[in-house]
């Protein structure tokens, strides 16, 4: 197997909180190959967005980080400013949940799309405009010329999401970080956005980190799915396998919590308690207080992500539970 495009190794990240440091990530490791899609799922506060920002080399103010982010072999977290600038302009791009919060409301779409390409990319204005229109068309916008002259408030949320996707591709990136790009839109618009992303990925051979809280969407989109909990990846598997045979009790709980179209059980499976942030993680396994399979050893020992049955899992009892099965309700 060739070297992965993106390789994150054991990132720990903490931000100052008063006189103490507040951890956000507790050792995240993942990799994405050329043209591959990794879905990252997790509940609020699990560290999905912080991880994506770390890939861009954007750390919160005053943050202390250990571990490494490597893109095509070169290290990102300690890269000099100008290198980082060209990396963000041409190698990776990010799209967000709310395009209205991200796109400058007082400038026309055309200016938004071409600004970076002309100022950082060194493109001529005319060339940048025609590339922008090509990308808008690729994003299934019927009348790119009309859209170029509009202001953001004149477009619907779904249209603006397409504009943001087109903007992300202006620098011809190799990796797209998508942070819940469909969370705020209707299901039919979600299908549109996902269809456009799928097309563009094929056309430009893009790799993608797709962040979502929706396990089904993660499986439909990603070759592999990584599940995050309290600032760490607790399980990572090929998406189909993750749904058929989850390895971590938390994943089992998540899958069981989700109502399904096929059947309505009297009660949904639930996970006791509520998701915790990395900062509140106890010694030992962070999921232990909510876990139905926890043992004495889980309180003492902090499990690391290790390979198991074609995937990776961070659970001390994973081998045992895999053998025995976790059907006995979480």
């Amino acid at each position: 197997m060739s070297a992965p495009l993106l390789e994150i190794e054991d990132i720990c990240l903490a931000v100052p909180d008063g006189s103490q440091m507040r951890p956000l990530l507790r050792g995240v490791s993942l990799s994405i190959g050329v043209g591959e899609v990794l879905s990252v799922v997790g509940e609020s506060g699990s560290g999905k967005s912080v991880t994506a920002r770390a890939v861009l080399g954007m750390l919160p103010q005053g943050a202390e980080a250990t571990g490494s982010v490597r893109f095509a072999g070169s290290s990102i977290l300690d890269a000099p400013r100008d290198e980082l600038r060209s990396y963000r302009a041409h190698k990776v791009a990010m799209i967000f949940q709310d395009p209205r919060a991200y796109i400058n409301p007082v400038r026309r779409i055309g200016d938004y799309l071409t600004e970076a390409a002309t100022s950082i990319g060194g493109m001529r204005r005319g060339a940048a405009r025609s590339r922008a229109m090509e990308l808008l068309e690729a994003a299934l916008i019927d009348d790119p010329k009309w859209v170029m002259d509009r202001y953001p408030h004149e477009l619907s949320g779904g249209m603006l999401q397409r504009v943001m996707i087109a903007g992300a591709l202006m620098g011809e990136p190799e990796l797209l970080l998508a942070d819940e790009p469909t969370t705020a839109v209707d299901v039919s618009t979600q299908a549109e956005v996902m269809a456009i992303l799928g097309r563009l990925r094929e056309e430009f051979d893009l790799a993608m980190m797709f962040i979502t809280h929706d396990l089904e969407l993660a499986a439909a989109t990603g070759d592999r799915t990584a599940v995050m909990y309290a600032g760490r990846i607790v399980e990572q598997q090929p998406s189909t396998l993750l749904h058929e045979r989850p390895l971590h009790p938390y994943t089992v709980g998540l899958l069981g919590s989700r109502p399904s179209l096929e059947a309505a059980p009297d009660r949904l499976l639930t996970i006791d308690g509520r998701p915790i942030a990395a900062a509140d993680a106890p010694a030992g396994c962070a999921f232990e207080p909510r876990c139905a399979f926890a043992e004495e050893s889980c309180r003492a020992q902090d499990p690391r992500l290790h390979p198991l049955a074609g995937g990776e899992v961070a659970c001390l009892r994973a081998e045992q539970l895999l053998e025995r099965g976790m059907d006995s309700r979480v």
Binding site: E43, S44, V187, A191, A195, A220, T270, R274, P275
Partner: protein, 280 residues
Amino acid sequence: MSDPVVTVSELVKTFPGVGTGRRKAETRAVSDVSFTVQRGGALAIVGESGSGKTTVARCLAALEAPTSGSIEVCGERWTGKQGSTKARRRRARKIQLVFQDPYQSLDPRQQVGAALDEALRVHRVRDGSKRDDEVLDLLERVGLSGEVADFYPRVLSGGQRQRVAIARALAAEPEVMVFDESVAALDVSIQAQILNLVSDLRESAGLTTIFISHDLAVVRQVSESMIVMRRGVVVEEGSTIDVLNSPADPYTKMLIASIPRIGWDPGDVLRAASADDERR
């Protein structure tokens, strides 16, 4: 054996337009919606943004007055007129609404206990000494410990806040509860807890529920019958299982096809939608 608790007939709601001159057209959020819910039943109203589903909820809870048509709850008929405070309270005792966002539906300066106490005082329990016990009882019914009464909403998580909002609605001992996207903003594991709470309440209190949602899997879990709305009109109705298993309207089909799953091709949805547009 028919015992309708809620009967909505030919409900229409328009809002005055913005702008001036010819551009000032009124917005017709709901045009001609009718449905009934039997006692103890569970109806889901499904639709995307702009379908008018929230406007229906607000009309049910008398937060909006219908432009025309009528709403009958527990035999009492309401038409356009808002009526006196007394009449509105009488309505509120029959039907209560739980909103989507528990971060906005609770007063940040009011302790949980005080919020519940106020709802009890307004609706039911005049005797202040009895109310303290009732507050604890309400908290227990929604799975919260008594100490939460002293908390302000800001220290509570989203799921806990939604439980408080449900407790506050229960304070009126309503016959009908309307949930307007009440689990949409919650994390998956918390969503399941709240959905279980809703089905427990249906069983224990014999509540009639109307659940408004865009999420068909949630609808499957919490409803017996459903209506699908699009642009202010009902495009399909029936038992939840029938509609989800064999949808008749192309729009319902498109909604079902839009649900992501393994092997899902979002491109299919696009093609189906454009074929549908051509037909219309």
